[in-house]
């Protein structure tokens, strides 16, 4: 039995024999196949999102390619004419895009001012108690399925509009009703993101404004809102993106049948509404109808992607840092 040889290293009393027995071999990172396997599996889970995106791009791109490659369609007709009637071979995208634009515009006219005002109220005025009640209630609104909003648009908003503006002016299916209800739907989204942005503005800015004699309104509108403008802009763009992609409300309340009209009280079919209606019927694979919805889907995907990217870029670029 060897007597332990003790010596001082780095000011510590170290048992030399123990050090000798812990050879360099043992201290090396041990090879653990199970750990590596788990890490590999988790990586694959993460990679699935890339596969999904690729899948979307490939599927939409391939069918859209077939659509534009078919003799009945060409790109000039697609972007240059104003009639969409697959039955007689007319494929001008603008009636659908226009209806999407109309409903999204109506939605933003409702959601942006209301959402921003509500966000200012929640972040600057409301007492903590009122906030703890108001915020979750608004979030419930965000959890209501869109098909329920569609029902609401058709059975409540449309009759209301017809009562206000006259039965002859307002058609049963119209873009205004769908757009307004869509605005109610995206209201909580805009409120919640803007409120986060407003709350992130440091207290010192408000206090400085008060010290200069500003009223609460002046502080909120001239100091806090400008400081949070990137977050608010991002919220609005995200709201537009949500409105463009929304399907059920427009499928139920905006009407079925593409129409190129700027009258919000007339029926018109949006891009999403058209996809839903065409694919709801019995669709034969490989027909021109089938590939046409993928061409529309591709446009929809690109529009929302660009909007989302802009929104992310705004947040990253223009965020004011105060720390």
């Amino acid at each position: 039995m060897a007597t332990p040889t003790l010596r001082v290293r780095n000011g510590l009393l170290v048992d030399n024999s123990r050090i000798a027995s812990t050879s360099a071999q043992d201290l090396k990172k041990r090879h653990r196949p199970a750990e590596a396997l788990i890490q590999g599996f988790l990586f694959l889970c993460g990679l699935l999102s890339i596969v999904t995106t690729l899948g979307i791009v490939i599927v939409l791109g391939r069918e859209a390619w077939l659509f534009f490659g078919s003799p009945e369609v060409d790109l000039r007709e697609f972007f240059g004419t104003f009639t969409w009637q697959p039955a007689i071979g007319k494929f001008g995208i603008w009636p659908l895009v226009n209806a999407t634009f109309m409903t999204s515009l109506a939605a933003m006219l409702v959601a942006a001012p209301l959402g921003l005002s509500a966000a200012i109220y929640l972040s600057e005025y409301a007492s903590p108690r009122a906030r703890s009640f108001l915020k979750p209630t608004l979030e419930v609104l965000a959890g209501v399925p869109t098909v329920v909003y569609g029902f609401f648009a058709l059975t409540f908003m449309t009759p209301l509009l017809r009562m206000l503006f006259g039965v002859n002016t307002v058609q049963i299916y119209n873009t205004a009703s769908a757009g307004i209800v869509m605005g109610i739907m995206i209201l909580p989204l805009i409120t919640s993101i803007s409120e986060d942005a407003l709350s992130a503005v440091p207290r010192s800015l408000r206090e400085a404004a008060y010290a200069l004699g500003a009223t609460k309104l002046e502080t909120a509108v001239q100091v806090v809102v400008p400081a949070a403008v990137s977050g608010i802009a991002a919220a609005c763009i995200l709201g537009i993106s949500r409105a463009v992609g929304e399907t059920m409300i427009v499928a139920i309340a905006a009407g079925s049948g593409p129409a190129f009209t700027f009258n919000p009280f007339q029926a018109a079919e949006t891009m999403t509404g058209h996809i839903a209606r065409i694919s709801g019927g019995d669709l034969s694979y490989g027909s021109i109808d089938y590939s046409s919805i993928f061409a529309i889907g591709l446009m929809l995907f690109l529009i929302t992607l660009v909007l989302n990217l802009i929104s992310q870029r705004i947040v990253a670029r223009f965020r004011e840092k105060y720390e």
Binding site: T52, G143, V144, F151, V221, G245, A276, T304
Partner: protein, 425 residues
Amino acid sequence: MSTLPNPSPSQPDNVPPTHESASPSQWQPALAFRHRMAALWQSIFLLATTVGILSLAVLLYNVMDGSFGLVAYEYKVDPASLTDQPLETLDQAALVALLKERLSKGAFNKLNNEKAFALRSRDEVYQLVLERVVQPKVLATWPLTESLFSRAAIEAEVQAKFPKAQLAFRSWVSSDFILRPMSSEALYAGVRTAVLGSLWLIAITILLALPVGIGAAIYLQEYAAETWLNRLIQTNINNLAGVPSIVYGMLGLAIFVRTLEPLTSGALVGVRDSNGRTILAAGLTMALLILPLIIINAQEAIKAVPNSLRQAAYGLGATRWQTIWSHVLPNALPGILTGSILAISRAIGETAPLIVIGASTFITVDPSGPFSKFTALPIQIYNWTSRPQGEFRHIAAAAILVLLVLLLSMNAGAILLRNHFSRRY
């Protein structure tokens, strides 16, 4: 601020400004106006918030209003003319005899083949008699508010328009409504097939999306180094969360319904009578749809676990996975659960992808497995809402009520789970 009257520099310092000269109106003539504006806008901001809350209230009221109300209906065959006793008092044998007498032989045998009359309960047979022999027909319906406040006017209207009709108050949502399968008659339609379809769909979605989503979140939070690939994955997930749901439906249609048809139709495991438009295809699509939401929520939950816990585990010699499995995950669990349940409630309410994939709108057979055709609650709501007849609006409202209760109980469950598991540091 430029309007502030400056004290003249010639004024001696030792004379303080008198109180009269320092009155607010003199210092700042616009002050009263500024305060009025502040008060005005405060009420405008409050109003905007109230509009949000109010629309939620109106929405709920609108659904309730449609779910109950008066119905005017007419019998094709007067029950009094069928037997000398009132129909309700007849026993099962008499009811079956009545069916046999009134229905054609083929129709009677078909019913018997579906389920033998001996095996049916008396209530079922009674319902059959009503549905097939008496055949009530809805003439007009009224929403709840009207039914309550102008009942007299409605009664007069029914008297004038349909002298033979009966008026009754009906709750469109009832236990029968939940338990009955689909029917082309609004009075007999139910949501059983739709609710079962939704539950199957959700089960498959959870099974697929939850492990993968949490796995991806763990990878991104605990393993991923700052490489271009990992950054790409993260950006990509954020973008996927913003892709419209109908685009996922098209992805599902092209990949799961068409390309993978042998798998999703069950042909690989020997199921013959189906195409790719099955619960499995829908579940796969829904899983992809909610995956980004689950990942983002789970990442937030994992991020919130304090680093000291990880370091303590490493300090004791735990491996990376041991640290994650027994320290990080248990602490992140409440957050992960809450986020996942919110994502799953989104999947329950999603309609657009199911329409694109091709959920059936009329189906009376309960779904029997992942390879059966199916319908789902939101699809049923969409279908009924789009019909022109008024009575279908009422069952759409009733189905919405069922859907909202389902969602509400899930969210309540999420809150309870969070409270049960939550720890504080």
